[in-house]
């Protein structure tokens, strides 16, 4: 399957944020993540217009074109991020909570969201990097097991196992957390 040529602006509008967020979760720095995503889109332009060949590592995906493009973008962004890490191998600064800005919420709502989100993200930090990554791909970006397998190069079974173990660990952490440390927001859900 070749890469369909979609409107690049629409594609950027749709995916720049998810991709930058994902790349940043790997490389740490916003600027580096943006560079990676810029190169991802440029690569998309070249490949979809036939200037470059489709990367051989890309597994063919018979789902609809836009989903295919989505996992293609995540794959390339991931590879770019890992390349970046290899090139600039150094301690990865984790994004500080203060760098995180809520997308669309009023000030009060934003505060509650941010507190809850920070709390949950701290729990996620207890998981292994690959558990965290599949959780992000699954729940932040709505990728299916198959798509996550395409992006990460893992087998579908492996993805299912990582998610299963990651979620189980997370539930244990939630159960162990002192009740008054859990944001009110979440208490009802548990």
């Amino acid at each position: 399957m070749t890469l369909p040529a979609l409107d690049i602006v629409a594609l950027m509008n749709r995916y720049e944020r998810p991709l930058v967020r994902y790349a940043q979760s790997i490389v740490g720095e916003l600027d580096a993540a943006r560079d990676v995503v810029q190169e991802t889109f440029i690569k998309y332009v070249r490949v979809s217009s036939g200037q470059d060949a489709t990367p051989s590592a890309q597994a063919a995906n018979d789902s609809e074109p836009s989903r295919y493009v989505e996992s293609w973008l995540f794959t390339v962004a991931r590879n770019g991020s890992l390349d970046h890490l290899r090139k600039f191998s150094r301690i990865i600064p984790l994004p500080l909570p203060d760098d995180r800005r809520s997308e669309a919420a009023g000030p009060d709502e934003e505060l509650v969201n941010r507190e809850s989100a920070d709390w949950l993200l701290r729990l996620l930090d207890e998981l292994t990097p690959n558990q965290r990554e599949v959780i992000r791909l699954k729940f932040q970006n709505d990728l299916s097991y198959k798509e996550i397998a395409d992006v990460t190069g893992l087998s579908t079974t492996n993805v299912g196992f990582l998610l299963h173990v990651g979620l189980k660990k997370l539930r244990d952490l939630l159960r162990e957390a002192p009740r008054d440390s859990i944001p009110v927001h979440y208490r009802a859900a548990l």
Partner: protein, 532 residues
């Protein structure tokens, strides 16, 4: 089946094929503990989904985006000598605007003359693909009701502003009756005192690339009797001539009389509700025009008219439309208010908001949007934007609603002459239908909403309405022959006030600066002798 089986997690996350799912469901019936376990997985999944989706995400910087657009050839940079227009300072340009405006005719109502005669179009279409018509903007500065004035029932005449200048020519359906070629300019003195230089402008870096030279040839003037308009106290509305394009849509896009209303064939054309009470419109697929327009402005160039696509500009922005009620994938948010470029017309804003869900989840498939007008209240309508496009023809038709998305469509409405009584009895103006197939289902469903006209003045409309209307006016003005007319731009600048939507809409603040930049460039061009 035990609680430690990854299959159980896959089941809870809906990742199994139907056969596996049936197997697991059978096992769960025998094992309530495992069923509880699956529920727990779903709870954590939903918590993660709701939280991670909201995790702040920075996008690309403008520089990064531009690098991609250049690679894609979307930023068309023609090699040409640097032709940067050095505009006067902000304050000077406003002074200039005020002086120029003082020489102009004072008026309050809006006046619009649009576009080419149908017969003329093929002749010019090849020469000037985006030949714009003249356009004048009236700024509705307050809540004075300027609509639907019947002789003898006029209330706006008591308003301190009065209309001097030429009244609109009442046109008949005769196509060879042309309006005077000269332009009428609208200027409202009441807003003059509000004109101040903007407090601070963001930096517009000059892109170190060869600049695009905006087409400089003066286009042949083609004006048609499309401007059907009414001023307070004037004669009742004359029925417009239908089928003229105000934007030079390709002749092929002109609808054939009697054919069913299809897709966006009617974009840019007024359609009679008696002939076609139902209009359909596409979901937006691109916002490319926004990038093109703002990139041109950053290079200190006025964007070429053909790069300005109104629907794409409007849909670049996000709006705070009402969320769907539970169980529905989307909600319709309708509003009818004053039309900024023609005070005798009304503007319908159709907002669509898909339910929040997973970030790329499809909420509805095979979506078809339609509007059914009440001919007793609306004489004719015109879909704003989509000029010369046919959804299917360019392969860009979008029929899915993605979670969390918003979409906006605008229609210009000409009220029926007899509409006043109907409006007062609050008869519905129109009904909008969103017909869709829920993912995984085979039956079609419909979400419906009706709108009536509350005759709200400009400032009584919502921020979202004012913003969408202002952006549309900006785009239409750039495409129009009146793009050089400072007074219009000055009016436009007023429109953009009071519709910023608050701190959640930074992109609006940014765009307002682009509007000011546009005005600066228009001023500079006017000072240097117009388009040449």
């Amino acid at each position: 089946m035990n609680a430690n089986d990854p299959m159980l997690t896959a089941y809870a996350l809906d990742e199994l094929d139907p056969r596996e799912r049936a197997q697991i469901e059978q096992l769960l019936r025998e094992n309530p503990q495992a069923a509880d376990e699956a529920d727990d997985v779903r709870k954590v999944a939903s918590m993660l989904n709701n939280t991670l989706r909201l995790e702040p995400a920075a996008g690309l910087s403008e520089e990064h985006r531009e690098a991609v657009l250049r690679a894609a050839g979307v930023l068309h940079m023609k090699p040409a000598p640097q032709a940067v227009i050095e505009g006067p300072s902000w304050w000077r340009s406003w002074q200039f605007a005020a002086t120029a405006a003082a020489c102009m005719v004072f008026g309050f109502g809006a006046y619009a003359i649009f576009d080419a005669l149908t017969e003329s179009r093929p002749k010019y279409a090849s020469e000037q693909p985006s030949k714009p018509g003249a356009m004048m903007i009236g700024v509705p500065t307050d809540d004075a009701d300027t609509r639907y004035h019947q002789p003898g029932t006029d209330t706006a005449m008591s308003h301190p502003r009065e209309i001097v200048g030429k009244p609109a020519q009442p046109y008949t359906a005769s196509t060879d009756q042309r309006p005077p070629a000269g332009k009428l300019t609208v200027f409202s003195p009441a807003i003059d005192s509000e004109l101040k230089p903007p407090p601070s402008l963001p930096e517009f870096p000059v892109v170190p690339e060869p600049a695009t030279v905006v087409s400089t040839e003066k286009s042949p003037q083609i004006i048609t009797p499309m401007g059907v308009k009414r001023f307070p106290g004037q004669q009742p509305l004359v029925q417009p001539t239908y089928g003229f394009s105000r934007t030079n849509a390709a002749p092929a896009a002109a609808p054939k009389s009697g054919s069913g209303s299809v897709s966006i064939a009617g974009a840019g054309l007024f359609q009679s509700t008696k002939e076609r009470p139902v209009s359909t419109f596409p979901l937006p697929t691109s916002t490319a025009s926004y990038a093109e327009v703002t990139a041109a402005l950053r290079r200190k160039q006025l964007p070429p008219p053909e790069s300005v696509r109104v629907d794409e500009l409007v849909n670049f922005f996000t709006f705070d439309y009402a969320l769907p009620v539970s169980g529905k994938p989307a909600a319709l948010d309708l509003e009818v208010g004053i039309c900024p470029w023609d005070a005798g017309h009304r503007l319908l804003r159709i907002g669509i908001r898909a339910k929040a869900g997973g970030s790329s989840q499809v909420m509805a498939e095979d979506v078809a949007m339609s509007v059914e007008f009440n001919p007793a209240a609306v004489a004719s309508y015109c879909l704003i934007g989509y000029e010369g496009q046919t959804g299917a023809a360019n392969g860009r038709s979008q029929t899915k609603l993605i979670a969390g998305g918003t979409a906006t469509a605008l229609y210009e409405l000409i009220p029926a002459v007899s509409s006043e009584t109907h409006l007062k009895s609050s008869t519905g103006l129109l009904t909008v239908k969103l017909n869709y197939v829920a993912p995984g289902s085979s039956s079609r469903r419909t979400i419906e909403a009706s709108a009536s006209d509350t005759s709200a003045g400009w400032l009584k409309t919502s921020d979202d309405f004012r913003w969408a209307a202002s952006v549309a006016t900006f785009g239409m003005l750039l495409r129009s022959e009146s793009a050089n007319d400072l007074a219009n731009w000055k009016q436009l600048s007023q429109l953009f006030r009071n519709s910023s939507g608050g701190p959640r809409h930074e992109e609006r603040t940014r765009f307002a600066a682009y509007v000011e930049k546009t005005i600066e460039l228009v001023s500079a061009r006017a000072a240097s002798g117009g388009r040449k």
